[in-house]
Structure formats: C-alpha cells, structure tokens
C-alpha cells in the first residue's frame, strides 16, 4: 500500500464548523481546528466535554451532523476509507481478540489494511513494543500494559501519518505509562502527528507541545508550551469553569 504524503503546508487534520448531536444533546458545537505535521496535540477536558467525540469524528467512527473533516487533505465524510488508511487509533479498549495470539492479532489487522511483507512488519512492530517473546501467546494472558503496547503495535502497523489516542493511560501502571509516553515522543520525533484526548495531566505527556481545552463541545482555550505550563493553565481553567457553573 502506498500512502501519498500531503504537501507540507496542507494541515494534516482540519475540522471546519463541525457539529455533532446525540439525540438532543450537543456533543460538538461548531468546532474549528487545524493540526500540522509533527504536532503533538492534547485535548483536555472534563468527562463528557467532547474530547472523545472529536477524535471519533476525525476517525470517521461517527458522522458529524454538519461541517467538514479533512485528514491529509481528504474529505473523510466522502472518502472514509482513504482517511482511515492514514490514521492509527489507540483507545481505552485494545480492539484485540483475546483468543488469538499477539502475532495472529497483528496478522489479522495487516490483512485488513492489505499490507505487504506482513511477517517482517509484524516482527518489527512486536520488537518495537517489546513483545517479540510473547508473539505466540494468546493475549488473554497479557497484562493491561502488554495489551496496550500490542494495541499501539496494531495502530501503527500500517505506518500511519496520524495517531489518535483516547485516554490511553487509563488503567496503566506508572512504568507502562512512562514507556507509552516515551514511545509517543519517539513517534512524533519521526515527523508523525499525535492527537490525544485525556483528562489526566499526570502521566506521559512530556512530548506534547499544543494543548486544546475542550468544554461543552467547544474549543474553549488553546495554548502552546510544555506539560508543566499546561498543567497550571488547565487547573486555572477548571477553577474558572467551576466558578461559572456555581
């Protein structure tokens, strides 16, 4: 499979006036966003703020009610399959099959993505996440951390341009979270793009430089800086929101 790299000045992800309703509840309200190549962007917000919905709209897992979503210049509402080809998605769940081995799981996804050199790719991916010795073990015996590492191998097997992560640190112990943080940093170091949704500012965000605060389906604030800057700003942001509510 060949993935054409987009022109450098074209945003890798672009959302234009995106709205999403679940019944009468508005999940996204006119969201505009542009993400460039090599950015590590984190969506921060309380539970139900709309962070996950944003990622799911980009992955075209949910269809927005209005607006336009582009991934690598492709309109994902019109061409969802071409858009997904360029994305990897790591969620809270691993999307893996517990009765298949680690190798078989990756082999299955390699077939879905119609990849070539499958064996070689899988071995490299397993090596990258440190699971090459567990390749022939069914994953029901894997710890949460091992499953999450295999989930990253699954999501990056097709060498995507963009990695979407939805609360990837939940349920991980400190060591596994630090490892994941390091991988994400190295992933961005290769010129790839990461979009992550989280409400936990304590773990693995050392590589992130752009922070988007989401509240009630809207982008409330944006800032560029280190995770330490973001932590302070986000605490202030949450305090202000609480004051507004009361």
């Amino acid at each position: 499979m060949t993935l054409d790299a987009p022109l450098p000045d074209v945003p890798l992800v672009r959302l234009d006036k995106v709205e999403k309703w679940f019944g009468r509840t508005s999940a996204l309200q006119g969201v505009n966003l542009e993400v460039r190549r090599g950015e590590f962007l984190v969506f921060l917000g309380r539970n139900g703020a709309g962070k996950s919905t944003l990622l799911r709209v980009v992955a075209r897992l949910v269809k927005p009610n209005s607006g336009r979503v582009e991934v690598c210049g492709i309109d994902v509402l019109r061409h969802p399959e071409s858009g997904r080809e360029r994305l990897g998605f790591v969620g809270h769940n691993s999307y893996l099959y517990r009765n298949l081995t680690a190798f078989e799981n990756l082999q299955f996804f390699a077939r879905l993505y119609d990849l070539s050199d499958v064996k070689d790719r899988i071995q490299k991916a397993l090596q990258w996440v440190g699971l090459e010795r567990s390749a022939s073990r069914p994953i029901h015996g894997f710890s949460r951390g091992m499953q999450q590492r295999l989930s990253i191998a699954r999501a990056t097997l097709h060498d995507p341009e963009i990695l979407l992560l939805d609360e990837p640190f939940s349920g991980l112990d400190l060591e596994a979270a630090e490892l994941l943080g390091d991988w994400l940093e190295s992933f961005v170091g290769k010129g790839k793009t990461v979009l992550m949704a989280t409400h936990d500012l304590e773990q693995g965000l050392q590589g992130a430089r752009r922070w988007v605060f989401v509240d009630q389906g809207k982008i409330a604030e944006e800032l560029t800086g280190t995770d330490a800057d973001a932590r302070d700003q986000y605490k202030r942001f949450l305090k202000e929101r609480r004051r507004d509510v009361s």
């Binding site: 269809k63 769940n93 879905l112 119609d114 069914p138």
Partner: protein, 225 residues
Amino acid sequence: MTFLKQAGAIFWKDVLTEFRTKDALTSMLLFGLLVILMFHFAFEPDSMETERFGPGLLWMTFLFAGLLGMNRAFATERENDGLQGLKLAPISWSAIYLGKMLANLCFMLLVEAVILFCFALFFNFNLLPRLGWMCGITLLGTLGFASIGTILAAVSMNTRMSDVMLPILLLPIALPVVIAAVESTAAIFTDPPGEALGFWVKFLVAFNIIFITLPLMMFEYVLEE
C-alpha cells in the same frame, strides 16, 4: 478483489476464534442433538411419520441451533470493543457483514451435517438417495437464514437483552425462507420428489439474491452511530 480479501480476513478470524473456543459450535451442536433425541422419543419413527413431520422438525432444529450461533456472531466483537477496531480499518463496512455471514454459514452447515446424520440414524430414514437435493436445499435455506440473521445480530447487538431481541426480529423476517426450505425438503422426502420442488428451490434462490444484496447495501447504515 480487495473487498473479498478483507471479508476473507474477517471470516478467517471468526473461524480461528471459534475453533479455539468452540463456544458457539458446542452449544449449537448439543442443542440440535437434544432436539432430535427428544423427538425420537416423542414420536414413533416410522417412514410415513418421518415423511410427514421430518422436514418441519429438521428445519426447526436447524433454525434454533442457528439462532444460538447467530447470537454469538458479534459477541466476540464486544470483548475489547473489537467492532471499533474493524470499523477503524480502511475497509468497506459491508466486508464485515460478508465475512461474518460466511462464518455463520460455515458453522451452521457444520452443525447441520451432524444433525442430518443423527436424524437419519434415529429416525431410520434413508437420506442417501436424496443426499444431493438435501445438501442443495440445506445450503440455500441456511444461506438465506444466515444472511438475514447476521445483519439482525448486528442490529440487536447493542440493544438490552440482545439474546431475546434477535429471535423476535429474525423469526418473522426469516419465515419465507423457513416455509420454502420446509416445503422443498418435504418434496424430496416423497418418492418420486413432489412437483412443488422446482418452485420452492427457485423461491429460495430469489430470496437469497435479495437478502444477500440488501444487507450488503445497508450494513454501513447499521454500523453507523
């Protein structure tokens, strides 16, 4: 071609998972054999009686055993949210339907082969002269049932009490295929085969064409949130 390869990958994954756990196959097989055994004791198995109630008994057993397997079709996708993983792949979501439908068909045909053998054994009924027709009708009837059952299993997957919801949705819609399968089986149970055989087989073929094409076109909407 890519579409078929992707459907083939999903079929391979479902078959591999099932042969490792044997969850659906075991329950389908046990249920089917128990029904045949119960009816063996409930009726006097002579050839006249078997000709009369045999087709209905066979298809009811196939149907309810199939329902047990159909309920499991998307259960594996619930663990670790596997369906999201499939939806994230750059594939047409119809390939998910085709792969799953073929896997269901494969499991049902395997179980039906054993049930048919036991039926012939317990009811002392010689299936050999009609084996070709029986295989053809079983294949057509099961294909029709699996094609509707798979899409309705996806519809009912996220409902409360999905195990109950699936038969409630499936049985009325599958009624034409059940009638056609029972009638055509009844036609081959008589010697010589009944005149209605041609009509019911054509009906089954037409039904299958419609009910495989429609779900293929509609499955994207079923998976859409």
